[in-house]
């Protein structure tokens, strides 16, 4: 069953570099709705000043030369489409989901943002800035999100370390956003992904729509990432006590990390059970641990997010988590086989949903590699006990990234937890 789906995925996937460098990839599994994503290399990694990428993402679907903001929303509502824009550290993704047959309208709508957005001052003041402020506030008040932002900034400093959210301290002007858009929206930086649409049809629409875009003269440059690591503590109240213990490495993701994440993840396969993770057996009541794996194109951040209602519980749970992480260098035999199987399943089942498909495609489409789930699964399978142990030892030898958010006088320091 898995093999059949995997081969269907490999068969209907096609990467086409069209005449001037916009990469197009599409999968058609016969679903009744289509989703098209325009992926632009305008993530927070490439922003010239803090907060610009976040602001640009909120400018999506506002007035363009072709239609006003109101017209965009009303017309797509009449078609029954759903528009969304999302920002990751490497990409800005504009997505629309709609019924089959409406692709010409929606591709035109999204490409008009890339080619002819007006960036009007009054829309900036009235629509964009309040939303940017609201999103930044809500992110800073969620300890888990805030911990990950701090972890990235400690781990990678510039580039991948830039926050996904604008801060109230950094003033972003309309000119900053326009300049960033002008540099980022060039053909070398744009890829188009589609599900529920034929690759040739999508390519044709994209060629027509992006005919006016400047050819990649300013492909987004970013220094290659280096991993640094560090420790920080932030006083906070009103949310769970949070500790993030992370490790990172430069370079493309090591499959051993996927296996490590699967081994340590306390997420049980059977609901209400404790699961087989060495962590879930030993953490105190009222605390939770999540394993976090964030692979980027040239670096990876792996970690464990510990949350709980009391600082003492979180300290205990963090000690358990670190111990389990350090002991997993010795993973072999059946336990390793379990972890490998779990990692393979996570990788394969992520392709069940649209988000997973786009996530998998986005990592491959800019690298121009052949996207195939079999290759990913094979690379996970190839990791044996010795290779796994070597990878884990290498990653834990580097400087850890430790973030504590909550009552800082009671939360542990990195050395108290065993790092």
């Amino acid at each position: 069953m898995l093999a059949r789906r995997a081969s269907a995925f490999a068969r209907s996937f096609a990467t086409v570099v069209d005449n001037a460098g916009v990469k197009v990839a599409a999968i058609d599994n016969g679903q009744p709705t289509t989703a098209v994503t325009f992926l632009v290399k305008a993530g927070s990694r490439y922003e010239p000043k803090p907060g610009v990428a976040h602001t640009l993402k909120n400018f999506a679907f506002k007035s363009t030369a072709k239609r006003s903001a109101l017209g965009t929303v009303r017309e797509s509502e009449l078609y029954g489409g759903v528009l969304s824009a999302s920002l990751s550290r490497e990409y800005l993704a504009l997505t629309s989901e709609f019924l089959r047959g409406d692709e010409s309208f929606f591709v035109d709508l999204m490409s008009s943002f890339l080619t002819s957005s007006k960036f009007q001052r009054h829309e900036f003041q009235e629509y964009v800035l309040p939303v940017v402020a609201a999103e930044s506030t809500s992110a800073s008040q969620n300890p888990a999100t805030y911990a990950l932002e701090l972890a990235h900034s400690l781990a990678f400093r510039s580039g991948l370390g830039s926050s996904l959210f604008a801060s109230p301290h950094s003033h972003v002007s309309l000119d900053d956003v326009k300049e960033f858009a002008a540099r980022a929206f060039s053909k070398g930086n744009i890829a188009v992904l589609g599900t529920g649409i034929d690759s040739a049809a999508l390519t044709q629409l994209v060629e027509k729509a992006l005919a006016g875009v400047s050819v990649g003269n300013a492909v987004a440059e970013s220094k290659p990432s280096t991993y640094f690591g560090g420790e920080t503590r932030v006083e906070s109240h009103g949310g769970p006590q949070t500790v993030f213990i992370g490790f990172g490495a430069a370079g493309p993701m090591d499959p051993a990390l996927a296996i490590l994440s699967a081994h340590l993840s306390p997420q049980p396969s059977v609901k209400w059970s404790q699961g087989l993770s060495p962590i879930s057996a030993a953490i105190p009541q009222g605390t939770s641990v999540q394993s976090v794996l964030m692979p980027y194109s040239d670096a990876t951040l792996f970690g464990l997010l510990v949350q709980g209602s009391s600082a003492e519980g979180v300290k205990e749970a963090a000690k358990v988590a670190t111990k389990a992480l350090k002991e997993s260098t010795g993973l072999k035999g059946d336990a390793l086989k379990t972890a490998v199987a779990k990692a393979k399943f996570t990788a394969a089942s992520s392709l069940d949903g649209r988000d997973g498909i786009f996530g998998a495609l986005s990592t491959k489409v800019f690298a121009n590699s052949d996207a195939s789930i079999e290759a990913t699964l094979a690379s996970i399978d190839k990791v044996d006990a010795a290779a796994f142990s070597k990878s884990v030892a290498a990653i834990t030898k580097a400087k850890p990234t430790f973030v504590a958010i909550g009552s800082v006088q009671a939360l542990p320091f990195a050395d108290e937890v065993g790092l």
């Binding site: 006003s68 109101l70 017209g71 009303r74 009449l78 001052r121 009054h122």
Partner: protein, 125 residues
Amino acid sequence: MNVLGPSLAPYIRSSRTLKKYVTPIAHWYADLMGYRKMGLKYDDLQVEESPQVQRALGRLTPRETYDRSFRFKIASDCDLHHKPLPKEQWSKPEDDKRYLQPHILNVLKEEEERFTWDTMTVQRK
């Protein structure tokens, strides 16, 4: 009748001969109106007690808003003295641009677009 009032200007501009002969008369009349002697611009005379013009005023840059308030202050002061300003302080004809009219036109266009979207009937082909 919209907030900008009736205007033959588009019709006159569309014809080259009319434009050639009417433009000097228009310039003479604008001078005769006397608002420049109080340091004002033509769009300062725009009736602002309407929701459309208030929206348009919200779209001015902070500098434009400040300059407008300053001109009003100078003009109020003139009115107290019952005297026009000295000649050096009259606003110059080349500076007398319609800074508010484009914003008002955009607001009117947007309102009309909203009305169209609110009241259209839709048929799926």
